[in-house]
Amino acid sequence: MSTKNTDFKNIERAARNREKTRKIITYVLLTIWALIVLFPFYWMILTSVKSYGAYNAEYIPQLYTLAPTFQNYVDAFTAVPLARYFLNTIIFTVITTGVMLMVTVFAAFAFARLEFRGRNLLFTLFLALMMIPNELVIITNFVTITNLGMRNTFTGLILPSITSVFYIYLLKENFEQVPDELYKAAKVDGTSDLKYLFKVLIPICQPTIVTITILKVIECWNSYVWPRLITDSPTYFLVSNGIQEIRENGFGRENIPAMMAAVVVISIPLIVLFLIFHKKIMEGVSRGGTKG
């Protein structure tokens, strides 16, 4: 009996050791990837606080600096119109997201709660549109906007960026989860559709609406292709195009610290947004991802 007991103890210990090794390996590998993810961020911040002279004197890159400077940030806002790019992006993002929300909420409400002939057919057509790649329609949109003389205008930037069938779909599904009884109760009380939508449905579905808003803001902040096609005057550049412009022409090609300062400034808003809402954003993306 006693020998048997020690035997089990050995088995136990071996199993526990194996478990420990596995855990250590897991941590090491995950940490390596975490470093790969974080390193570019470290590098951009590091480079952005190195002085132009110091940076260019380094044949072998230094992994730290003892003489940080903020001159590059001053340059980023004075030598190139970074503030302008910023403001443009904010205008673009706010208007696009706002109009998108209105269009989406109304459409989702009509599909989810109102009865009309051809509803299912129309919704199927909407869903079919989700499969159309942007590359296919962007050509005609480019021609349309050009012909309307809306190149280098906010209208031209915003109009084709508004609708997203996917968000309509997401919100409609969410609206439909709200019990029918609430709608009927509201009808019995004589509530108008509009009031029901704003006083009942939207507050209940607020999490989804927040998700959609955040996703659209990220999309707008990072959009590059359409703005690039439709703007060629720096007055209307968004940050992505601004960065590209800075890279090609700004600062003189070799002023990399100043470029990095601009990169840091551009990256900060979304990262701050993410750090505040990271639970919501990740939940939203995974929900959106699995349903799309």
Partner: protein, 297 residues
């Protein structure tokens, strides 16, 4: 029609207007453009209809290079990113502590501006007469020969492109797979444990089949996404992708549009439709395979 039946359409009107103008109409129009030969953007006239545009695109060296680049990118990054994401997710799910922290860190690339961070990657990989660049520093450290990854040999450029693509697409895949893994009924694992199932067998016989729908979803969307690679490539190699020899199919489409004097919408349309056909074919193949291999609830 009375007001009652009119009202739903009123709610839908904005969505329908926007979608018709910027999705439905362009969808048909792109076919029209693609068969209008000798289209002149300034005068908006064309000389005839036919398949010349397609033939031009298919014989264009730049297009063929773009197709080659895109295919290499797709073939390398889709399996690689899905595999790494699966490994990381498995690791994450086995950690009781720090899971949230790691998850948050791993998700960071999703919320960064592709163009901005691409510039950082360019600097990390670039080698100039004045500077070695960080990656070459590492290569030296391990005793290798330094390479200019940005303007050097083709394989080096391709490596950076794939690396950056994987870096960018991983957050989404990790997120999806981690939540798929977490949603597998824990009782299944307990049941397998009671039967003394080995770790490897649990993975192949339970975990993998249970999350296979998500894996296939990621593979399908991964293919579609990788075929549309563009802005991450621009971020690293700059706007003149043809000169760098690193253009992608989508890049070719945009270059055609952006060209001098309003560009060549006809060639762009033909190229876009060819891309669409490729993506559609691959997706169909994927779906056919998945129907056989994937367990659906």
């Amino acid at each position: 029609m009375n007001t009652r039946s009119l009202k739903p359409w009123l709610y839908l009107l904005p969505a329908i207007l926007f979608l018709t103008a910027f999705m439905v109409y362009p969808l048909f129009d792109v076919f029209v453009y693609s068969v209008e030969e000798g289209y002149n953007f300034a005068s908006q006239t064309y000389s005839g209809t036919g398949i010349y545009n397609y033939s031009y695109v298919l014989h264009d060296q730049y297009f063929l290079q773009a197709v080659k680049n895109t295919f290499i990118l797709v073939i390398i990054t889709v399996p690689l990113s899905t595999g790494i994401a699966l490994l990381i997710s498995l690791g994450l799910n086995s950690l009781p502590k720090l899971k949230d922290l790691y998850q948050t860190i791993f998700f960071l690339p999703y919320v960064t501006n592709t163009l901005a961070v691409g510039l950082v990657f360019m600097i990390l990989f670039k080698k100039t007469p004045y500077s070695e660049g960080f990656v070459n520093l590492l290569i030296h450290f391990f005793g290798g020969e330094s390479v200019d990854f940005i303007e050097g040999p083709y394989w080096a450029k391709m490596f950076v492109m794939c690396f950056y693509t994987v870096w960018i697409v991983l957050p989404f895949k990790i997120l999806i797979l981690t939540s798929a893994l977490a949603s597998v009924d824990q009782d299944l694992y307990k049941a397998a444990k009671v039967d003394g199932t080995s770790r490897l067998r649990i993975f192949y016989k339970i975990t993998l089949p249970m999350i296979s729908p998500m894996i296939f979803y990621l593979i399908i969307t991964g293919f579609i996404g990788a075929f549309k690679a563009y802005s991450d490539v621009v971020a690293i190699f700059g706007v003149n992708l043809n000169a760098a020899g690193m253009n992608t199919i989508v890049g070719y489409v945009y270059d055609m549009l952006y060209g001098d004097s309003g560009g060549y919408p006809s060639f762009a349309s033909a190229a876009a439709l060819i891309l669409f056909a490729i993506v559609l074919t691959i997706t169909c193949i994927n779906l056919l395979v998945s129907r056989k291999k994937v367990y659906y609830d």
